[in-house]
Symmetry: C2
Subunit: 485 residues, 2 copies
């Protein structure tokens, strides 16, 4: 985590003490940020308990390595679709070496240095709740004066498919940290992890990549055109997409103990609900996430020992004014940036409550997300379906992103689509699909969060010729609808 | 111009009639858009008078070809700075062929088809004002029932440097439509046109590119760090930047009549104010723009026959309720997107006034701009200096864009910087310098235009790991300042 702050230097790794103002269990980005925010201006002290690497799933096994693998693939794909650029190709060894550098070879020294430099102690070990304001770590008992924050996140869900677990499938960690690119891969599931992994596996040279998704389409939490456009692009690039299809059985006679990112055995046979049988070198399970709540000591305070741990708008567990949950574990939005946002809120709330002040903030953000497929998929706020379910006064506008000067310049065969979702005169959702939209999403997040009326948004001029000009076309589309033309 | 609308089909090229509701002189994007907006929902009719190509400077000689040349150069530069991508290079012939396709080989048939399809007549010829609501075109007299709109834009300014004009220098038109990449080029001026041209000339293989700029730095209308970062990158890429230096004399014994985009003679000798002498194959003048007002018939209604033509917030010339000026010619902001914005306002105002209604809109936009150098420079609203000159309650925050996870993934040697300018608690300006910021600018435009309070902006969460996360760091920087740390 990059931070501006350098705090007191007394903090250390594995200190020999037992009481802090704030104890954070789980040191991914949300855990780091809540400790930072709780302490930085307050005089409180904090410790983070982390059983693996400080920096967590995102830094070492998810966002960072996946985007590290995707960026070279993206540049090569863009170059291949632009007359005027020639010869671009991925150098797989160099891509993997760069990925290793990005995850710092799974060494978290720099994160430890950041934390202790910011005045935050770190204990390596498995933390479990053991009663009010009490946490145990490998036999030690820690006490919190003010708050315990749970931030243990999620892990890959392995669905109960006949033979799947026994086949030692890859999960997201193997896919992001791959050392060998499998020749043939079957991916179970069609969400973000699946679609991003298919993109880099194919981009790095996998010959046969097949996505098997039970629902109607890929990326099914998005506007329907998102999954459709990504599926079209996959098909064009040689990735097979099987929607409305389930894996019914998996068989792998030879299983081995190869490490993370290596192929976990011999040929896998995958039987599908349509009766077809696939043979692959590896099977990747990307079928959702399971909260890490089942061995967290939750029953010690009377909470259920499984599932997501629900919180209120202050990230506090209802009825437990000292217990906070941030990040994936609360189930609100399984995204690093939302976990970090929750952590900023929770940190400020913890510091305020410790000082006897009311909470200065509450969780009230719209949720943005970017999926780094080709085309990219970005969204903020609600889809049309979500807005209708919420009973809003729904209006929508869509536009073909290929019909813009700005996109015509970006690629020779640009494909994309954009959509705005309104509640009366206020924007509540936006989706953009296309090359170069990752940074465009924030304009929608700002517009939605700021509840800017359409009449004012009309005066926010996008630069020419950028992809952002889709805003102009979408607003013109709404204007035309309202004038009855 | 891309448009959603298909209007009556009675409109035509060079029609034999003499009266319209609206006469537009100059058919660049602002001229096209004002005609579209004035007519599309109003029942008014309109004609555009254009002496060259419908679509104007932007479509054929500026934005479109320049970005067409820059995109392949950008991809190759990005690839060169990313371990994992190998072999990418520009194919100059293919780049130029793609540029030719982007400018449609200087054929405006599709634009004529769009205009007439939208119910807008087009006359090819030179339009001049010839009295109230009267325009002459090559001997014909046209009369406007409601409005005349002037949208003749600007042309390259050639400063009065000894020998410069006689040397037949390249202007922006030659540089965007180049057919031969000069071996050695001297560029006079260090603004947007200069910096973008230096980027593609060097990227397409020019061996010696020298920018000569009289002021302290490049891109001097931006925050100072923008020009500094671009100059550093130029130096690293082999472009020579000479600031605080003027061209004092130019000599070119052999001048020829090569066409646009070809080299205009023999070796050029360029003498600089520091006494040094440069020799080049071509000299490009990128020293500002001159309004096309000097042969426009302005004296026929008592206006000055030179300079920019000032307008009020309705794009109307004060004292002439039938006379509008949109685009570069009014001098407000020499940017296609701002000209098109003004045209949307003016079109709506013309239609409303013709119906006896008050103007429904006024020009109240903040101005965004993207310069497609490497690194890109993007801004919206005011610089710190402009905010101070305006007497605002100025606060600023800056952040090193290289210190973000999102930028670390984009390039191996990312360089950039960002800055927010506040007036009290309201954002009034933003500048981003770095790779991948072109689409990020619109988030600032929306925030500034919407006057979103900082306290709300804090809840607009950027996706991780994108370049947009610089917003978080900037807002944290402001927060730390205000907490006195």
């Amino acid at each position: 985590m990059h931070s501006r702050q350098t705090g007191p230097v007394s903090a250390q790794l594995n200190p020999d003490r037992s009481e802090w103002d704030v104890i954070v269990v789980g040191g991914g980005p949300p855990g780091e940020v809540v400790a930072q925010y709780a302490t930085q201006f307050s005089g409180l002290d904090a410790v983070i308990v982390e059983q693996e690497l400080l920096g967590g799933e995102c830094s070492f096994w998810a966002c960072m390595p996946s985007k590290g693998l995707l960026r070279p693939v993206e540049l090569v794909a863009n170059s291949a679709d632009l007359a005027g650029v020639t010869g671009a190709r991925v150098d797989v060894d160099a891509v993997l070496a760069r990925r290793d550098k990005i995850v710092n070879h799974h060494d978290d020294t720099s994160q430890i240095t950041w934390a202790t430099g910011a005045g935050i102690d770190v204990i390596r070990g498995r933390g479990r709740l053991a009663g009010p304001k009490t946490v145990t770590v490998d036999g030690r008992t820690l006490t919190a004066r003010h708050a315990v924050v749970l931030a243990t996140g999620t892990r890959a869900n392995v669905p109960p498919i006949d033979g799947l677990r026994e086949a030692r499938p890859w999960t997201s960690r193997d896919a992001t940290n791959l050392h060998v690119v499998p020749h043939r891969v079957v991916i179970v599931g069609g969400g973000v992890v699946s679609c991003e992994a298919a993109t880099w596996l194919r981009g790095l040279g996998a010959d046969e990549v097949t996505i098997v998704e039970g629902s109607e389409r890929l990326l099914s939490k998005n506007e329907p055109f998102a999954g459709d456009l990504v599926a079209e692009a996959f098909t064009a690039s040689g990735v097979t997409v099987k929607t409305r299809t389930r894996v019914t059985a998996v068989s792998r006679p030879e299983v081995n103990d190869a490490g993370e990112g290596l192929i976990h055995g011999g040929e896998v046979t995958v039987t599908l609900s349509d009766g077809s049988v696939l043979r692959a070198d590896e099977i990747l399970v990307a079928a959702g996430r399971t909260p890490n709540s089942d061995d967290l000591g939750l029953p010690s305070v009377g909470l259920e020992p499984h599932g997501f741990v629900a919180v209120d708008e202050y990230l506090t567990v209802p009825g437990f004014d000292w217990l906070y949950v941030v990040g994936d574990l609360n189930g609100k939005a399984l995204l690093t940036h939302m976990g970090k946002y929750q952590a900023r809120i929770a940190g400020d709330v913890i510091a305020a409550r410790a000082a006897g002040d009311p909470p200065p903030q509450r969780d009230r953000a719209v949720v943005p997300q970017v999926t780094f497929t080709d085309p990219e998929v970005g969204s903020a706020g609600l889809t049309e379906a979500q807005a209708r379910d919420a009973g809003l006064d729904v209006g929508v506008a869509e536009y073909d992103m290929a019909a813009l000067a700005g996109t015509y310049l970006v690629r020779d065969d640009y494909r994309g689509r954009a959509k705005l979702v309104l509640d009366g005169d206020v924007l509540v959702g936006a989706t953009f699909v296309g090359t170069g939209i990752a940074e465009l999403v924030h304009s929608a997040t700002v517009a939605i969060q700021g509840r800017i009326p359409l009449a004012d948004l009309w005066h926010a001029v996008p630069s020419y010729p950028t992809v952002s000009e889709v805003w102009l076309r979408l607003l013109e589309t709404i204007d035309s609808q309202r004038r009855g033309k």
